[in-house]
Symmetry: C2
Subunit: 176 residues, 2 copies
């Protein structure tokens, strides 16, 4: 299974503006691109905060062809939302989650944040590609795209300006 | 006077790898590009740490057509290095330094780091353009490109892959 980390960040590496949660600050160009690219993935992994942010929309859009997996330290809290192989909640390791998704036959998994999920999958050596939208912003403070010390080298696969915007999409392969 | 902030950073916004000072980690492609672009500037501003890192090279390369200005809280410490309008040391504000350079007839000033100098010039609203080389690295920790809370919007002027590398050069205009 190919695992792609997809994220929009400020030029200086933040996924939130200061301490405001959510991605309301990201560009319309990135949101449009993200919506368009998501159907190519048959699995999504996200953290609890990301899940709670998109929960109403996600619950109205459940789909057996896309396995959503939410990392949370309290999976029992979300038991009433869960549906096997459609929307699951787990406190397990990144490696175990990847293994569960693979056993369920998934081929393309998108990692959708936040920081903790990025760190866990990167440190486990599970991320094949990183697709980053660099938004034309400097924040100085906020939630960082990664937080744990890493020393990861990347190979540039593609770079493009998103249509009619100041946002740049960079695609990298993670070097092993 | 046009002021351009020039910096190489990891994808996640660090100008050093973890707590190792200096830019030994940046790509050959960025170093080559930086050497090539520098002659178009008749003034450079840098902080004390940056100065001490490049001091031997800089002292062997002093040039009256390029006014180097070093921000330090202890300018007296560097009195023996100083030469009027060639290499000066100052504890003054970003605005006063910009004014001194302008009065000396300089037209194109490059801000060369580090974090404190970036923050000072950005918060004073003095930076016209930012030229960032995004190096294909994730560090998670290190010296950040900016540190103070900012809310700066940028307009993308140019984006290019640096020759035979995985580094991307992004040029922005700072929106006022």
């Amino acid at each position: 299974m190919r695992i792609v980390l997809i994220v929009a960040q400020s030029l200086d590496g933040f996924i939130t503006k200061h301490d405001l949660p959510g991605t309301a600050w990201t560009s319309a160009a990135d949101k449009a691109w993200f919506r368009k690219c998501l159907p190519q993935f048959d699995a999504n992994v996200m953290g609890r905060v990301t899940y709670e942010t998109i929960r109403p929309h996600l619950l109205s859009d459940l789909d057996p062809t896309r396995f959503r997996f939410v990392l949370t330290s309290s999976p029992a809290r979300f038991a009433s939302d869960a549906q096997p192989e459609i929307l699951e909640f787990s406190a397990e390791s990144a490696a175990n989650i990847a293994s569960t998704l693979e056993k369920s036959g998934r081929k393309h998994c998108a990692i959708l944040g936040g920081t903790r999920v990025h760190d866990d999958f990167l440190q486990a050596g599970l991320v094949d590609e990183i697709w980053v939208t660099i938004e034309p912003k400097l924040f100085g403070t906020g939630t960082p795209v990664v937080k744990l010390p890493q020393d990861i080298s990347l190979t540039l696969i593609d770079y493009q300006r998103l249509a009619a915007s100041d946002s740049v999409l960079l695609k990298y392969r993670v070097r092993r």
